[in-house]
Symmetry: C2
Subunit: 342 residues, 2 copies
């Protein structure tokens, strides 16, 4: 074996000899320290060790993994190795390895053909095991989840604007509040057919008859002075759904005010499916996104995330999380999470 | 208006005259009481009233709905009307309307062309609003959920046997317990390739190298004396996942013992995807089902149910809920829920 031998110092593996040329310049591992010496982060050293391209003291790969065992080491290693196998260079997001290391990410992944020398970043990547809850609000641009069988699933994260150009409703409507829904027995023209509030009580063919409104739709219209009823819709909403009702109303309101029409996402297991440009119900486009309303500090299990994203992908929609407080006037934040194939 | 007029008595609507011929014999509404008189349940009467085929005292439809307002009336009415519009006859699952009324259902839906006279049952149907939690264990054969916008989604419910003919593993394996997974550095032949335990540490091409096992796989093998490791896998599982680990292990065990191979369902947001007849990993069939492990008395929100079922349908799998206690020796119960288009 002619491979260089590294030594562990202060939690990194230092390699001298021709290490800089061999590992850093040629293949993007580690960071130069002095002369030709480099420092390898444990995941980097583990990968070289596993491939037989490096020796570390007298340890074999299992011994090295045990040496660095902390609950996240193996998970980070698995993602590092997976991306390397896919042909990417990547660096740990730590001081010395990358400039301005992102606080919310574990790795910086470079564009294909790029590496730590030119720092052309493709993703800033968070890594999580499937048993860790994930705060949706502060996700970087990409997330890798290692499941219990050590398979890696990648997600991309964006902050969509959620704007549209839908027709509003400027008339007034009277409705009966019945249990957890409202019915407009004699609705004004356009309430359903143009502005897409409610559903006809007797199916699509009954668009001129009574219209059922969801509590959210009714509450939104009532708050704008466009709907009158006997009793408080907001109170009924709180009674049947608690705080969740107000959070969903905050999201509903924000979407409507951006010209986007939210309708129930029940069939997709989401709070809403949304349409950006509704001018007529007879001419609805494809609804582009599914929206789930969550509290701002909400942590989701990776499995819940995976379920939502997979479903949305399967129905050609974008999965959007709307982080909203219960009606405190703060605007919701929108975070979309999609599938990523690196 | 020549429609008969009914009167409300003890919570039902009684109609005399030619009511039996007109409503029951011809169209399956109500139940005969004496001579030509019939009793209509409120949903039945509401439907006739809405269609203009009946008068009830001096009430119009809104007044009638308000009169019978209880939190579930409108929801049951919407399902009743929807099925009627689809051409089905159905009866409330109550004494007098049907024989042996099922306790866990709201309606008996008859085969097309059949009705209350011949009692050929197509479904026993539970109705729920989307805000009611649903106990999975005691669902009848069909479920209708009315969402907040009053759309109805139907589900069918079965009790699958979950049997298979997969190859087991009868050897022994040594593994290292590392954080929340186990690694067999030098696994015996067939552990992965025939019995489909674990995943190669370095991808599919590395099937002869180290194999990573999930904690569940390792715990199952260890309990059967097929795996040795330093430390208790069950304790590690409990430490990282709590009671859920034992529940999932009970389900994993039951499936393996029926010849079915459970692998992670993470990419589908489920606990497991399962394969019924594995003899070689190189020749895996389609995994037929997704399995979610739940506590026996677990109530799911209809939206969660909708999400699971929709996703499973989209990937051509059956959604199965495995109701299991945490390792008390009771066999799990399997309940599958699928989409239903009446």
């Amino acid at each position: 074996m002619n491979e260089p031998r590294g030594r562990i110092e202060e939690g990194v593996v230092r390699v001298a000899g021709d290490a800089r040329q061999r590992y850093y310049d040629a293949r993007g591992y580690g960071r130069p320290i002095e002369g030709n010496e480099i420092a390898l982060a444990p995941v980097e050293a583990a990968h070289l060790l596993f491939r037989g391209d490096l020796r570390v003291e007298d340890m074999d790969f299992p011994a090295f993994v045990r040496r660095f065992e902390d609950p996240t080491f193996l998970v980070r290693y698995l993602v590092y190795a997976d991306l390397r196998e896919r042909g990417f260079y990547l660096s740990p997001a730590r001081e010395g390895w990358v400039s301005d290391p992102p606080a919310d990410a574990h790795f910086v992944v470079y564009e294909r053909g790029s590496g730590p020398w030119d720092d052309e970043r493709l993703y800033e990547l968070r890594v999580a095991g499937e048993r860790e809850a994930i705060g949706v609000a502060d996700l970087p641009g990409a997330l890798a989840v290692v499941d219990e069988e050590s398979e890696v699933t990648y997600f991309e994260v964006e902050r969509p604007t959620m704007n549209g150009s839908s027709t509003g409703f400027s008339g007034t409507v009277e409705a009966d509040l019945l249990a957890d829904r409202a019915i407009a027995w004699d609705p004004p023209e356009g309430l359903f057919s143009a502005a897409f509030y409610g559903q006809p009580l007797s199916g699509r063919q009954g668009a001129d008859g009574p219209i059922q409104l969801s509590l959210l739709e009714a509450a939104y219209l009532a708050e704008r002075g466009s709907l009158s009823t006997d009793g408080s819709i907001l109170e009924r909403g709180r009674a049947v759904e608690g705080e969740r009702f107000e959070r969903r109303l905050a999201v509903y309101t924000a979407l409507r005010e951006r010209g986007v029409v939210p309708k129930t996402g029940f069939k997709f297991g989401a709070d809403f499916r949304v349409y950006a440009d509704v001018t007529s119900v007879d001419d609805l486009g494809h609804s582009e996104s599914l929206v789930r309303a969550l509290p701002p500090g909400c942590a989701r299990s990776p499995r819940e995330l995976s379920l939502d994203v997979r479903l949305a992908h399967g129905v050609r929609k974008r999965m959007v999380f709307a982080l909203a407080s219960a009606n405190d006037g703060t605007k919701p934040t929108f975070v979309s999470v999609g599938r990523l194939t690196p």
